[in-house]
């Protein structure tokens, strides 16, 4: 790939016979990564410093008398690196044998099993049988507080957790106690990790099962989990996450790398705020005046009622609604000649920033799509708890549309005087009892859609679990109604719904689902980008 335009800022070298051109200063490990070669490693993590202490990434560099740690050695022009040579393989086999001297090999009861780097590497390159005859050291378990449980025996002393707390969380609660064969990770005696809002990340970066989540302890095996890319709905930061599900239940949330939003990290509030997704008391079929009906009949009669309705139209939603839902609700309101749409969102005081990755913070708005509602021109009402502010809607006599918000704070007379009360929601709250039409919607985990985060970044998410009964995504319901109303084509996919929504919204410009991909795309003219 050497060309005349080659800038001096790059070097060309060979890794296992493949020519690689990378910027000067790249490490061998990253250079190999850039051509899809993984060099086994523990202590190296792209978000942390490299102490080169695990000795697993040792590779052979031609002409060098000793093997070099790939995570720390920078590439040089014409360098020839061997990762699979006899010498490099012998290095890894030897180092892995040392790791297994004290490792308990309790994989059958270890939560990390199936996604454990020690397991993978030993399976790939370790010795078939251990030669150690000495008893293994036994350290037992230590509750580090928060959500973290430490299994000292499984630890490989990569110190990723210590460095995360020092360099990224900047809250140095962990240390290596003692040294040599007595070394062990610990906190300052009984101090623990309690109160550290980002400590959950050390469970993610632990390459083995030494640090495990107490919440996830023995809940599921890694290979039984389905993984779906998604966006954290717990605040307006919109951390990229993976929904890890089994049997249509969310088992845990894990951060997904996105250098524009959350790096490799997420906060513990978001991480543990998933049980509501698994709520089972859902509306499963459309209810018309309390009677179960099929979708065609329900929507058909609703359409007739909407066309006949005389009163003013008012609508309320919440900041958990997707861009598509909100946009189609807005279009619907415009078509019906309704007044402005109001929304509510809980809010806290103060952001919790991750010092080592300042883009990421737990934001003040504790819902994922406040920015989307703002872009669409919705009016925010209610207080910090997302309660109140709906007095004129509660006694509204015309048409009332509720999207998403179960309105748990309202009394049972909410909407009782409405001429036509349409409720699109996932839960049958007491307010929904007054609705003429209850149309079951899916949660974000069950549908495709997009949120706009605090930076004005539009991010997609995918359905991770099946929706109960015949619940449908909000955009599908609103899209179908709108299409019937205006005698146009209904969107049959969230991507089409977004295109339809984006048409009239300059901020969404010409963004499509394809542009967003798995990492989102910035909205245009997104003034006041926070965290930049």
């Amino acid at each position: 790939m050497m060309t005349d335009q080659q800038s001096p800022q790059t070097v060309t070298m060979r890794i296992d016979g493949r020519e690689v051109t990378v910027p000067t200063g790249t490490t061998i490990l990253r250079a190999a990564e850039s051509v899809g070669i993984e060099i086994p490693h523990y202590c190296y993590h792209p978000g942390l410093s490299s102490p080169a202490m695990c000795r697993l990434c040792l590779v052979e560099v031609e002409g060098w008398p000793k093997p070099a740690p790939a995570c720390k050695t920078t590439v040089a022009e014409g360098q020839v690196v061997h990762i699979e040579s006899e010498m490099a393989q012998a290095q890894r086999t030897g180092v892995l044998e040392f790791y297994l001297l004290n490792h308990p090999l309790d994989c059958p009861i270890c939560d990390q099993s199936g996604e454990c780097q020690l397991q993978d590497y030993v399976f790939a390159q370790g010795r078939e049988h251990g030669r150690g005859r000495e008893p293994k050291r036994v350290l037992g378990r230590d509750d580090f507080g928060g959500d973290v449980l430490f299994n000292g025996d499984r630890c490989v002393m990569c110190t990723r957790c210590v460095r995360f707390m020092r360099e990224v969380a900047e809250d140095e609660r962990l240390c290596v106690v003692e040294r040599g064969n007595r070394a062990v990770i610990d906190t300052f005696f009984d101090e623990g990790l309690e109160g550290s809002p980002f400590a959950g990340n050390i469970v993610d970066i632990c390459p083995v099962g030494a640090l495990v989540s107490k919440d996830f302890l023995h809940k599921a095996r890694a290979w039984d989990l389905d993984r779906t890319p998604s966006v954290c709905p717990s605040c307006s930061q919109g951390c990229n996450i993976t929904l890890q599900t089994r049997d249509d239940l969310v088992q845990r949330l894990k951060p997904r790398e996105n250098m524009d939003v959350n790096g490799w990290w997420m906060c513990d509030f978001g991480r543990h705020n998933y049980e509501w997704i698994n709520r089972v008391d859902r509306v499963e079929e459309p209810l018309v005046n309390g009677e179960t009906q099929g979708w065609p009949e329900a929507l058909g009669s609703l359409l007739g009622r909407l066309k006949e309705a005389k009163g003013e139209v008012k609508a309320v939603t919440w900041a958990h609604s997707t861009n598509e839902e909100m946009g189609l609700l807005k279009a619907m309101m415009e078509e019906l000649g309704g007044s402005e749409v109001v929304y509510r969102s809980p809010r806290t005081v103060g952001e919790l920033q991750l010092p080592g990755f300042p883009l990421l913070a737990r934001r003040e708005d504790l819902a994922p799509n406040v920015r989307g509602a703002e872009i669409l021109g919705f009016t925010r009402v209610g207080d910090e708890e997302a309660e109140g502010g709906l007095d004129d809607l509660a006694t509204h006599k015309g048409v009332l549309i509720v999207v998403g918000d179960p309105l748990e704070d309202q009394n049972e007379n909410f909407g009782a005087q409405a001429e036509l009360f349409i409720y699109l929601g996932s839960y049958l709250s007491k307010v929904a009892g007054n609705a003429h039409y209850v149309l079951p919607t899916t949660t974000f985990a069950e549908q495709e859609g997009s949120y706009t985060n605090v930076q004005g970044r539009v991010q997609r998410f995918w359905p991770g679990i099946r929706s109960p009964g015949s619940a449908r995504p909000g955009w599908l319901i609103l899209g179908a109604l709108f299409a019937e109303f205006t005698e146009t084509e209904a969107p049959i996919g969230a991507d089409q719904a977004f295109v339809q929504v984006a048409k009239g919204v300059p901020e969404f410009g010409e963004i499509t689902y394809r542009d967003m991909g798995t990492r989102g795309a910035p909205a245009r003219k997104s003034a006041g980008v926070a965290g930049d």
């Binding site: 140095e172 240390c175 106690v177 040294r179 300052f188 101090e191």
Partner: protein, 220 residues
């Protein structure tokens, strides 16, 4: 804090050129050249090595006051990074208090603006910091090669027997803690024993009761 009696510095560390290898025990031990060692122990040549161990320890001693405060500030001013001042500061804390308790580590962390966990990591890495209380006299017997060849293990056993303690434990009267040490750099005069900050060289099991008696008398 009582000032231990000053011993004039007298370098005993010159064995001379023996010229051949057929040596008597006395020759190996260097008796002929340096005579009898001072019964109070010698001044270790590396006397500036921290921690400097005093017989009188006060686990409640303030961190730091008076001359110690001055020393602390001097140490602190020596380094741009507070972490660099940690080792000598811990050394001073141990000198005053005898050992580094969790409270001591936390106080030192506070003084230097470091996290307690970091201080614990450093304090536990180095074996010369005592993480548990020790007796007034910390007896460290070398059992590394030279001393071992000259009966270091017997000396260690003699100290254990005569103080009636287990390794690393403190005797009932609070006077003695006996530990095994790796090389004390007194290989010319084995067996070397470090008691607090003094070096006892050429120690043999028969010398042990006398040393202990002397220390006990010193303590009263």
């Amino acid at each position: 804090m009582s000032e231990a009696r000053r011993i004039p510095f007298n370098n005993p560390g010159w064995a001379g050129n023996t010229g051949e290898f057929q040596l008597t025990e006395a020759q190996v031990r260097g008796d002929e050249y340096v005579g009898k060692r001072p019964p109070e122990g010698g001044h270790p040549s590396g006397t500036s090595t921290y921690p400097y161990m005093l017989a009188e320890k006060d686990p409640e001693a303030p961190l730091f006051e008076g001359a110690y405060q001055e020393r602390f500030e001097k140490i602190r001013s020596r380094y741009p990074d507070a972490r660099s001042a940690l080792l000598p500061s811990l050394g001073m804390a141990q000198e005053l208090r005898g050992h580094l308790s969790p409270e001591t580590m936390e106080q030192v962390a506070q003084l230097l603006g470091l996290s307690p966990a970091y201080v614990r990591g450093v304090a536990t890495f180095y074996t010369m910091y005592n993480k548990r209380p020790v007796g007034r006299f910390l007896i460290q017997v070398c059992t590394n090669i030279s001393c071992s060849l000259c009966g270091g293990d017997d000396v260690l056993q003699a100290f254990l027997n005569n103080t009636g303690t287990e390794m690393g434990e403190t005797s009932e009267d609070g006077n003695f803690t006996v530990m095994e040490a790796e090389c004390l750099a007194g290989c010319g005069f084995p067996t070397t024993v470090q008691i607090n900050s003094r070096y006892y060289e050429n120690v043999m099991p028969k010398d042990v009761p006398e040393i202990l008696e002397r220390l006990k008398a010193q303590g009263e």
